[in-house]
Structures are given as C-alpha cells and as structure tokens.
C-alpha cells in the first residue's frame, strides 16, 4: 500500500543537505540553495546546479549556513566543512545560439501526359 506524505516546507530550507534519489545524479549529496515553490527547489553540490523536485530528494540531519541564491564557490566551501568534497564548476562560455530556419522549396508536380497507353488501347480496339 502506498502512503503519500506531504513534505512540510520547513524540511527543505536553504542550507539543508540532501541526497538525490533519482536520475543520473542519484546517491550524490547536495545543498538546497533556493526555494522556488512548494514542490521545487534549486540545488548545488556534487550534483549539477539545477532545480529539483523535492520528491526526488531525501533530506539529512545536517544543515549548513549559506545565503539564499549562493554561487558555486560558497557552496563548495560550506560543504568542505562538513566533509563533502566536490569540484568547482567551470563557467560555460558558450551561449546557445538559435538555429537558422530552413526554407521549404515548393516544387510543382509535373503531370506526364499518357499518350502511349491511350494509343495502344485504341490500336487493340481496332
């Protein structure tokens, strides 16, 4: 029997250390950097820096003091004190460029006149 428990907002406060349950970042530890919603939260740490559903996180007993919306440097420093070592993330210089739209060329359909078939039919009839 499945029991759905509504997680209270106090659990996933800014600075709470969690373990990610789902996805390719599963089993990695992260910190709540910002609260977006009653369902979503912005995380950083050993995982990728992105928003996450609180259903995919398991909180631990540990909290860490960081300001809301902290950047990667402060998060890495704060986690080091707790014994969680993670690499600093490099800033990506590439910016996503919009793809150029391809123009569709409409070609007119060439209708071949069926002269040969009609001529043969007429010959057979005669």
């Amino acid at each position: 029997m499945q029991v759905w428990v509504w997680r209270s907002e106090n659990m996933f406060e800014v600075g709470r250390i969690c373990v990610k349950i789902a996805g390719r970042d599963a089993r990695k530890k992260c910190v709540v950097v910002e609260e977006i919603d009653n369902k979503f939260v912005f995380i950083d740490g050993e995982t990728r820096r992105r928003k996450c559903n609180i259903a995919h996180l398991e909180p631990l007993n540990i909290t860490v003091e960081i300001p809301s919306g902290a950047d990667n440097e402060t998060v890495v420093k704060a986690l080091k004190q707790e014994g969680i070592v993670c690499d600093m993330k490099k800033e990506s210089k590439k910016q996503p460029q919009p793809r150029p739209k391809k123009e569709k060329i409409k070609r007119e359909k060439v209708v071949k006149e069926k002269k040969v078939a009609t001529e043969k039919k007429e010959a057979i009839k005669k």
Partner: protein
Amino acid sequence: MRHVYVKTPGGRTTIHYKPRNPKTGRCPVTGEVLKGMPRVSANKRKNMPKTKKRPQRPFGGVLSSKAMRKLVKEEARALSQLE
C-alpha cells in the same frame, strides 16, 4: 529461427530464416522488464557505444528505477540515523 516471407523478382514467395532477438531481462527486486536496453544479440552489442546499452544512472541495467530509488532512500536514512 523465425520465418520471413520474401517475394523474389521472379514472382515466387520464398522463406528466409532469421534468428530471433534475445530478451533484455527483468529487475530482480520488482520483476518488471528493464528499460533503456536494446533487444540485440551479443555480437551487435559489442560494437555499440556504452551509453546506448544501459541507462546512465546508478544500477542502470541491473535494477529498475523504482528499486534503485528505494535502495538509495534507505541508504540515506541509515546515514542520518547514525549521527
């Protein structure tokens, strides 16, 4: 061998014999069919890139996502109980 009916240029219908594809396997915990893995013989699997053969997450190709989530949850709860 499975039968594949092929029409020849001469107009005859002949049978070509092809081997069947193997199954992917099931999760040992939940029993459901594992996803993200192609149903392909070992010979073809050898030349495929690693990322196309299993899902890229812990226990990918071994446990279903449901079973993996349960396991990781219990691990995390054991961690917090220790302290």
